[in-house]
């Protein structure tokens, strides 16, 4: 097992975590978690239920605040006291949450821009412009083949894959430098999974990084360059793809699971 040092990476990591700890009502959910993420790579974050994956990404996304630990973005320390979702988005950190983050009854143009609307100087929304961008995103990321989806469509009329397309498209449109995807393929058909994996490759090509969380080791192995295994709040292993085979990775996870 080799830690990713900065020796073979000339660049500064996009994001670097050091000694992140988090407790929820007495339970140590994250314990001394540290790792770096570099431009253009995809990290597969693995671990059983309750390993702390979702808490970890919620800290990155600005939803939760860690009890202790540090985070750098582009080598600059982040002040957790003021770090929130809006700030994370300004840094180019976009998160596709496992739980529904769309307003079911709202039109797509509101969902694409929620939390970062385009207002004029009176605070009134530039609705025309928001709808135009929404249509671009729909064409590019959701695929509009013969379907009657437009910027005014309500989310409740969309399929699971289309919804995921909207949340991922939203993340990609806003020039994300780090996209975090929490179980993005769970509810999707095979074709839709392929589309999500393609998004990730596209992101990496553009120099953006990605954190991909999934229970499906096969999928993770296929798409990620590096794997981080989380178990009961601690990093239990960190591998590059050329250091480990897919079945070894599965076995490692199973061993951890059986230790419980």
């Amino acid at each position: 097992m080799m830690m990713t040092g900065s020796c073979d990476q000339a660049s500064v990591p996009i994001l670097s975590l050091r000694n992140i700890c988090k407790r929820f009502s007495g339970t140590q959910v994250l314990n001394d978690v540290s790792f770096d993420i570099f431009a253009g790579e995809t990290i597969g974050l693995l671990g059983d239920n309750g390993a702390g994956k979702s808490t970890l990404i919620k800290i990155l996304a600005g939803v939760h605040r860690p009890d202790s630990g540090e985070m750098d973005v582009d080598g600059q320390p982040v002040d957790f006291a003021t770090y929130a979702i809006g700030r994370a988005r300004n840094y180019g950190i976009e998160t596709v949450f496992q739980e529904n983050s769309l307003g079911e009854q709202q039109p797509l143009w509101r969902n694409i821009f929620v939390g970062r609307e385009l207002p004029n100087r009176f605070g009134l929304l530039k609705i025309g412009e928001q709808k135009k961008v929404t249509m671009q995103i729909l064409r590019k990321y959701v695929g509009l083949q013969g379907k009657a989806i437009n910027a005014d469509s309500r989310v409740s009329t969309l399929s699971g894959g289309e919804r995921q397309g909207v949340t991922i498209g939203r993340a990609m449109y806003f020039n994300a430098r780090l996209v975090i995807l929490d179980e993005p393929t769970t509810a999707l058909s095979l074709g839709e999974v392929g589309r999500v994996l393609n998004f990730i490759r596209q992101l990496n090509c553009q120099g953006s990084a990605c954190i991909f969380i999934s229970h499906n080791v096969g999928q993770i192995y296929q798409i990620a360059d590096r794997f981080i295994i989380l178990d009961r709040g601690q990093v239990m292993g960190e591998y590059r793809k050329n250091e480990i085979a897919a079945d070894q990775l599965s076995n490692h996870l199973l061993q951890l699971h059986n230790q419980v």
Binding site: A84, I85, F97, G103, Q106, R110, V114, G115, L124, D152
Partner: protein, 318 residues
């Protein structure tokens, strides 16, 4: 064109309902409903319910309720008349009324947002509190402010433009336009819609949901105080049960208008027309020669029928 129809079918439907009612009343009592005077009378009475309903619509869209506004009206109306009677300055009284209403709204908001009590329960509590407090402070007695009748203050809020058109109708129109812009065109409106639709999703998208809800409760307190001042001026006095009759009328206007009780969806135009429908029924029934007891029967029928239609349209059955 088709998509416009689809987007605004609710608004269209409620407008047609109002048109049918007016046509029916005109048919039953042409001497009343084909004469302008009844409409001037409507313009003096309906704005009170309508302004309250417009404010409350925003709160309902955010998934919250406020049952305390009639009592907040009594309390802030009392603050208005009492401070006016003591200082002789209606503007000071007006400011104090707004401060009282805003504070009552803030208290509602804090109990709901920070303590975590569901708004329907929290505002039942504060409803008792403010009703009791205003009656206590007034020693159960009414206050007469008829002396204000010829003041510029009176004309500014509830006068008659050109001696004919009730000024409160313009205030109502102003609120309707302001709140429509807020809900449909402003960043705040988007926040309100998401908070009502799915508050967890709203949080995950960086909306400060606590702040949005607190602001709405304060806004409703301010609106209640404003209407209380208008009613006290229009009637020339304040009385301890002021506002009591408005609770159900205001909710009826909102739900006839097509706003969802589940939050996340609402129309201020619908609320305005709903308030008009609620406001014209009694006159329509009485001028057609029927007993006034029919009013509640028809109110009940229209409310149940309209919300049933919305339930079918939006398939809200669980």
């Amino acid at each position: 064109m088709n998509s416009l129809l689809k987007e605004y079918h609710l608004q269209l439907g409620i407008t047609v309902l109002l048109g049918c009612l007016l046509a029916l009343f005109a048919l039953l009592s042409p001497q009343t409903f084909l004469n302008g005077r009844i409409y001037l009378s409507f313009l003096s009475t309906i704005p009170f319910v309508a302004i309250l309903a417009l404010g409350l619509t925003l709160l309902v869209v955010a998934g919250e309720l406020d049952l305390s506004f009639p009592s907040v009206m009594a309390m802030s109306g009392f603050a208005f008349v009492e401070s006016y009677l003591h200082t002789g300055s209606p503007w000071f009284g007006f400011a104090l009324a707004l401060a009282t209403g805003g504070l009552a709204g803030l208290i509602n908001g804090l109990i709901v947002v920070k303590v975590g009590v569901p708004s329907i329960i929290a505002t039942i509590g504060t409803q008792f509190f403010w009703r009791g407090m205003s009656a206590l402070l007034a020693a159960g007695l009414a206050r007469n402010i008829a002396v204000l009748r010829d003041s510029s203050f009176h004309h500014f809020f509830v006068g008659r433009l050109d001696g004919i058109i009730p000024v409160q109708a313009f205030w109502c129109l102003g609120f309707a336009i302001l709140f429509s812009l807020l809900l449909n065109r402003h960043v705040m409106g988007g926040n309100i819609l998401f908070v009502g639709d799915n508050i967890r999703a709203a949080r995950l998208n960086g909306i400060n949901t606590d702040r949005v809800r607190l602001l709405l409760f304060v806004m409703m307190g301010l609106v209640s105080a404003f209407v209380a001042v208008l009613i006290s001026l229009e009637m020339g006095n304040w009385w301890p049960t002021q506002g009591e009759g408005y609770l159900l009328l205001v909710f009826a206007a909102i739900f006839i208008g097509g706003t969802s009780v589940y939050g996340g969806r609402g129309t201020l135009y619908g609320t305005l027309i709903g308030a008009v429908i609620i406001g014209i029924i009694e006159a329509g029934i009485i001028s057609a020669g029927y007993s006034g007891f029919w009013t509640r029967v028809i109110h009940g029928f229209i409310i149940v029928a309209s919300v049933s239609i919305y339930a079918l349209i939006f398939r809200t059955r669980r």
